[in-house]
Amino acid sequence: MNALMLTLHAGEKTLHLPIIPGFSIRELLDTTTLRVRAACGGSGRCGACRVRLLTAEAPPCTRSERERLSPQLRQEGWRLACQLRPDHSLALELSNPAPAVPWRSLPVSELQWLRGRLPSMRKTPLGVAIDLGTTHLRITLWDCAAGRRLASRWGVNPQEIHGSDPLNRLDYALHSPERSKEMATQLRQTLLDAVQDMLTREVGGGASHLPHIGRLMIVGNTAMLSLLSGQGAAELLSPDNWQQPIACQPIDRSAWQQEWGLPNAHIILVDPIAGFIGSDLLAGILAFNLLEAPAATLFLDLGTNLELALWDGAVLHVTSVPGGSAFSLLSPDPAAWPGLHEEVTLLHDPLLQQADNANCVQAFSPAALLEAVALLRRQGILKVSGRFAPSVAGDGYQLQAQMLTGRITLRAVDELQRAKAACAAAIAMLLEKARLHWQDLQNIWLSGSLGSRIPLAAAKELGLLPPVADASIHQQAGSALSGCEKLLLAEEYGEILAPVQLRLSPFNLATQPRYEELFITHLRLQPYAASQ
């Protein structure tokens, strides 16, 4: 059966988007860069989200549409995007889109259903949960008193311009107090923009609602928390501190309240665990209830920074290693990478793709790269060493993922080898520390921008993951944000954190020569067990 498709014409732009049954046009477009205007949270009250139908078949108008749109407008095909929930493929015209902003709604797959409400926050009911990632920021707005998620946003971390590697950003910030302040202010301003965007579109009234925000909960990896608060960068760059917590708390919280225009907000930065092991891992552990999982459960948060936790039934062994550029997902929106792993198909000879070919993109999502490399291995085109077979000429192999055509270069393979070796070696080290073998693993929970959509067969073939049965591997996106939301909705968030913190045993792999040996053996593109 063909998927239902939405075709949207907006000026010179045309967008094709899969329709998710039950979702409104507005909700579908909120995950893209082409958004409708909005000011009422999708209730149909403001009437700002008008779109015109270009196809005949569509569900009938709702009461809100009949109230907001004259019979003549309805006759001409005008509808409200927040009310129109298509059950057929259709084409629309959007003549007056919302001004472009760097924010989009998170895909529903990244949001977990959560129960919890805080009647004590009736006077200042709004709450904000923030996951500070190296590449992306994820934010949700809550009515905490009612226990209802009002909106979500994700966008690119503006500090990307100072390097995709957190170390480069820390180094840049340490250059001078002015730079550090500039980076922190830029990030805080970006977060405020996202909050205001949600308030404007989902609550109506924008900045006038800022005083209604009673709580703001922030988790993130240590480097990002440090760059947000302007504290701890120097300590973080010194290996002497990598086994202990790094203080990333703002010196003057009231100054933040003033800067953000949040006079009533309790601003909470959840402390990182130790060194580069951030509070995003802590939040992920909470999201998955790792302490209640069977012993020998492994949790991997796979992204630019790899964070790992192994629960052995008594102790939570946690660590962190850099994943590098191969694991930096360019977009958390699956629609931005059509097909991803399922649709990667090798093209026929000639093998070389011209780099200047306009249709050729060099970058693929990490999942597509994994799938493609596994496919090249299966076909004997790529050797276990990460080199092409002698029959392959040139420095790249062309492949296609649905509409995208790209080139897998040896450099991309090398980066993938490094990232997967870092992950596999870290898993092996944690298992050794807990005196466990990969065969003992009961469950693997995967999260993070890559973990939630990693192609399992390819990951196992290439040795990124131990050969655990698929049924024991669980993938869930947005665990750090979910854990942060749990803390946001807790009357005493410290009481939720304390039991986890008591069981934590941080492990700094940088000081372990054995990690380096395992890293080298795991560079080979072969199953995990063969590299042990």
Binding site: L237, P239, T409, Q417
Partner: protein
């Protein structure tokens, strides 16, 4: 008796097979080639000087031409060569002549030792004595150990910008050498990713030379030793 040209041809075959194995990061296959060469009657001295060292030199040239050579290949080249050399040296009739001495470590604040291990592997194979100072090495220790070891070269590895360009790494080593009037006695060679991104950085931090990767570092260090002690 096998004619000389046949011996050479046979060694060529072994060198090719050995290089192919190393290029494929296949340690077992590489060691098998060495075992075959030994079984065919080649002496440990021949294995090292006529097989392993030419192979390393060929790999250095090959990897410097091949910008897409991966980390595993660099590591295997050095690791296997060092392993074989170490084993063969134990069986040498006379200890070989040392070409020079090097102290090596990662800069203060840097725990990345992989690059350093690659350099050490290559240097050992090239008959350079190496004193490994480990990771996170203070500048003072680089200088003290270089004096104590009577080294010609101080090799400093930095994988992060702040350790490559910071005040506690090569810059401080240079300052100490200047203050202690030791600049004519030692050459300072740096390596690591930050020096690849900024090819002028090595001069800015006061180094005499730099290497783009671990394997070519062996060649650069050897050149500096030869310039200092012709």
């Amino acid at each position: 008796m096998i004619p000389l040209h046949s011996v050479c041809a046979m060694l060529e075959t072994y060198i090719t097979a050995y290089n192919n194995a190393v290029f494929d990061t296949d340690r077992d296959a590489a060691l098998q080639v060495i075992a075959q060469a030994l079984a065919a009657g080649h002496t440990p001295e021949e294995i090292v000087f006529e097989l392993v060292i030419p192979a390393v030199e060929e790999m250095m040239a090959q990897l410097s031409r091949d910008l897409d050579a991966n980390l595993a290949q660099h590591f295997m080249t050095a690791q296997i060569a060092a392993e074989v050399t170490e084993k063969m040296l134990e069986q040498f009739k006379q200890p070989p002549k040392t070409l020079g001495r090097v102290v090596i470590g990662t800069a203060r604040g840097d725990l990345h030792s992989l690059g350093k291990r690659i350099v050490m592997g290559c240097l050992k194979t090239l008959m350079v004595e190496v004193r490994d100072l480990g990771v996170n090495v203070p500048a003072e220790r680089f200088v003290e150990e270089a004096v104590a070891f009577d080294a010609q070269v101080i090799a400093i590895s930095s994988m992060m910008v702040h350790t490559a360009n910071g005040e506690q790494g090569c810059r401080k080593v240079r300052r100490l050498l200047r203050e202690q009037q030791l600049e004519n006695r030692f050459r300072v060679v740096v390596g690591g990713a930050p020096f690849r991104f900024d090819e002028q950085l090595y001069q800015a931090v006061g180094a005499d030379d730099w290497a783009a990767d671990g394997v070519s570092a062996g060649k650069v260090i050897l050149r500096q030793i030869r310039e200092l002690s012709p």
